[in-house]
């Protein structure tokens, strides 16, 4: 399984913060994972997730949309930050 996390605006669009996905496919990128995950979730999520501003992290480290993901990974989608 792969754990997918949504933060801030994305968690509201998705209606949830966390979802687990079967990771039986090999050779899956973060982008492939995102394509899979939006299918079952509200349409607004796809609009927000692919708007070009979202960064990704794999296992709590910055990654990119082409990074390969594997079973046991934690993949997070990060909208533009606003701390400080």
């Amino acid at each position: 399984m792969i754990t997918v996390l949504f933060f801030a605006q994305l968690s509201e669009s998705a209606g949830l913060r966390e979802v687990r996905l079967d990771a039986s496919e090999t050779q899956m990128s973060v982008r492939d994972l995102a394509d899979k995950v939006v299918v079952e979730l509200p349409k607004q999520l796809a609009l927000d997730l692919f708007d070009g501003t979202v960064l990704v992290a794999v296992n709590k480290k910055r990654a990119d949309w082409d990074t390969r993901v594997h079973a046991g990974d934690e993949v997070a989608f990060l909208p533009p930050v606003s701390g400080g």
Partner: protein, 164 residues
């Protein structure tokens, strides 16, 4: 060197004392405290409906536990190496915060003030542009998430061009 992400408030005096105690040789201590502004609304929203002042009741902050801490730790490590300061710490609050609440604390101890000021500013700029923390304004007109402001992205970028 420490990074703390917490909901509870912090005591600047106490943190100052801790930093001094941990760095008996430091000749300069610089700290910055960020406060929740009275209102935060984005300019374009304010002008759309000019006769209603933004009604922000509170901010709600969330973060990516684990990643925020390691990003802040990385930033502190870079600041110490780059500016040659002795110690730095960050406290960032999350959860529900009302106007005028303390939100972030950055403190740097070093030999001299110039490096300490620069290191503190570097840490704040990087924290604002990279730390996985998000603010939501909540008010009587609804709620919305704030995104990174251009000026914050620019502020972080300038450290890339000015090599020391």
């Amino acid at each position: 060197m420490s990074v703390i992400i917490q909901n509870q408030d912090f005591d600047v005096g106490l943190e100052y004392q801790r930093l001094c105690d941990a760095n008996p040789k430091a000749g300069a201590v610089v700290f910055f405290v960020g406060l929740v502004r009275d209102f935060y609304s984005e300019p374009e929203q304010a002008s759309e409906d000019s006769d209603s002042s933004p009604n922000i009741d509170y901010l709600e902050l969330e973060h990516y536990a684990g990643m925020t801490e390691s990003l802040c730790q990385e930033t502190i490590t870079q600041a110490i190496a780059r500016f040659g300061v002795a110690d730095a710490r960050v406290i960032h609050r999350v959860g529900k915060l009302s106007a005028r609440a303390q939100i972030v604390f950055v403190a740097v101890a070093g030999q001299h003030r110039s490096e300490a000021f620069q290191a503190a500013e570097f840490i704040m700029d990087y924290l604002k542009s990279t730390a996985t923390i998000w603010k939501k304004e909540v008010g009587s007109n609804g709620a919305h998430w704030l995104g990174m402001k251009d000026k914050d992205a620019q502020a972080a970028k300038r450290w890339k061009s000015s090599e020391r």
